[in-house]
Symmetry: C2
Subunit: 379 residues, 2 copies
């Protein structure tokens, strides 16, 4: 039976292939085909699923079911062409490192397939689509494949942790991510006659500015949260006041109480500010994944085993999100960061991972499986 070191070159080659051919969420056609091809080459059983893209595969038999999850989508960011390894798809790149996630899960699948005889549990390999759009996890849940599962294991690369270090905590990892849309509807008209319009540009400006005080004045200052406006669009002619200005943004919180507070306050604020300037308003908040937080029993069970195999530290929480947060609402989960030590920012054009960190990720998957299997056998 081979170890990770024996297949390392092949796994790194997979990662580089994924990196060169990134695909956006729910469009991961070639990525899906490539994963299936690798699994078939290793005689790993591919399961039918209800997903448009993504792969579900399994090894082993048993009453207990462990899901090992990775995400497979890329994002709409033009990679810095001066990088050593560059996306060949203009405008799309694996600037969040999901190429690394896929390669690690393929490695885990290959190594566990070779140990299938020893397995007393069933392992599902979930190559989840469309994480960046906050769609994939919910689609997986809705497809029903998790109904038989006992635990789901996931992770994300973390450029701010040292190479090969595992970040694991009982506390929150990543923020709840909600998407905000604000429409300010006024009455447009001639730019020289502001008094007979209801000007949505000024109203939108006041909304953006007054909203700053929600974090600074309404939220308990010991809590951390973000409210960002990210797009603002209104008007098509330099000499006409527009009828509508549309804002998008995001609310990011670590606690449900902060999340509810911010949602309530922004709704009230927009209504109040719009009324001040005789405009109508509409606020839509699309609830994204909850803050990523581990199941306490899973941490208690798996942390000691992981600490024997690798260096484990308490990571800083981050205001990024992962739609992994949806899984923890339906089954026990464990989430970890795998340090790459690269220091670059997620979603930046020069984002990097480090192939040497793949081993930690594969080890994390295998250690979780081994520990859970032992635990269930002896309990």
């Amino acid at each position: 039976m081979r170890t990770y070191q024996d297949i390392k070159e092949q796994i790194i080659a997979y990662r580089h292939h994924f990196h060169r051919y990134p695909e956006l969420g729910n469009e991961e056609i070639e990525t899906t085909a490539f994963i299936e091809q690798v699994l078939k080459e290793h005689a790993i059983r591919i399961l039918p699923n209800q997903l448009k893209t993504g792969v579900l595969a399994s090894v082993g038999k048993g009453e207990k079911v462990i899901v090992l999850r990775c995400d497979i989508d890329a994002i709409a960011i033009d990679e810095d062409p001066n990088m050593e390894l560059v996306s060949l798809v203009p405008g799309v790149s694996h600037a969040c490192g999901h190429d690394m996630h896929m390669a690690a899960l393929l490695a885990a699948a290959i190594l566990l397939k070779e140990r299938e005889e020893e397995l007393t549990v069933r392992i599902l390999f979930l190559f989840q689509p469309s994480e960046e759009n906050n769609e994939g996890a919910q689609e997986v849940i809705d497809s029903g494949v998790l109904k038989q599962a006992d635990v789901l294991i996931g992770w994300h690369n973390e450029p701010d942790l040292p190479l090969g270090v595992l970040g694991l905590t009982n506390d929150v990892f990543m923020a709840a991510v909600d998407q905000l849309t604000v429409e300010i509807n006024g009455e447009g008209g001639h730019a020289g006659y502001p008094h007979i319009t209801k000007d949505p540009t000024i109203t939108a400006a006041y909304v953006m500015i007054e909203a700053q005080s929600i974090i600074s004045r309404k939220l308990n200052p010991i809590e951390a949260a973000v409210l960002s406006f990210t797009t603002v669009h209104g008007g098509s002619s330099w000499n006409s006041i527009p009828t509508q200005v549309r804002l998008e943004g995001t609310i990011r919180t670590f606690s449900e109480s902060a999340r509810e507070l911010l949602k309530r306050e922004i709704r009230q604020l927009v209504m109040r500010v719009a009324a001040n300037y005789d405009c109508e308003s509409e606020v839509e908040i699309f609830s994204g994944p909850a803050a990523v937080k581990n199941d306490s029993e899973m941490v208690e069970l798996l942390m000691p085993a992981l600490e024997k195999k690798m260096r484990v530290i308490e990571p800083d929480k981050v205001f990024a999100g992962d739609d992994f947060g949806f899984y923890q609402e339906v089954l026990p989960t464990l989430y970890a960061f795998v340090g790459t030590g690269c220091g670059t920012d997620w979603h930046s054009p020069n984002f990097l991972v480090n192939d040497e960190a793949l081993e930690t990720a594969v080890n994390y998957y295998l250690t979780c499986v081994e520990t859970l299997q032992e635990y269930w056998q002896s309990n």
Copy 2:
């Protein structure tokens, strides 16, 4: 020799034709062809010109040259389809009434052609393109055709004046119209990490709001002026803070001192606010036409003659502009409003003129010609 009453039905038919087939500025191909066709049918001499669209024609001979001007372009506004007379071109309409202006100038040309033997001056008929874009008047000036001209006569329909009334004043009619572009350049990034971005959305919001106090705190309150922001655009992704927000707007003033003050203050304010939020900024101000104001000697000369022929009142000044303002910088001009009594707003989808007001406009042209000719003969 016919009077306006004799050709009235034909002139109204021309107006309705123009209304059905509106064309945008510098695209008035069919409009130009139609005007030339009518002029040819009446044996009126069409002069070569350097303009892409628009027509220059002449009748009479003499040392002195009077230019009678109208504008011929339509605007990008979808006319209310329930109107009695509707544009047949989707998205384009004569919502500023230039159809009426053209019909009146054709009437003046036809009637003056029939009186050509009596003329001791030369009349140029200027069907000017692209007024709405603030381009046409400058193109006419640049083409050199006004070098031999002694005076230029123009007018605009005014829905807020009673039908058939002429608005004429020695004071300012219409505002100087300057076009404003503001770029706020920050540093974009992940919406959950505002502290490592330089957020141009908040900066743009403060620019829009702080700019309100330029009018209220910097301008002498006895003066009237408008500073409107009309478009605001930034960002393309709900979860990324953008790098740039771009604002457009307009500055409208009646005096050169107010115009200079507002230009200076907005430049300073944008630079100051951008610096507050660590952003870069760029302000561009495209100087449009000056405030429309008559030549005092022309008013003194022509007002008494016009008052004998029609009801003349002092009009309210308006914060719309007319690129007629460019002409007054190169030769003596007279500008008037012709009341249509329609009460609808310029540039609104249900804008109206009244065909009965055409007679006042034609009378205005003819009275100016007659009075100037008499004046020059006796001086």
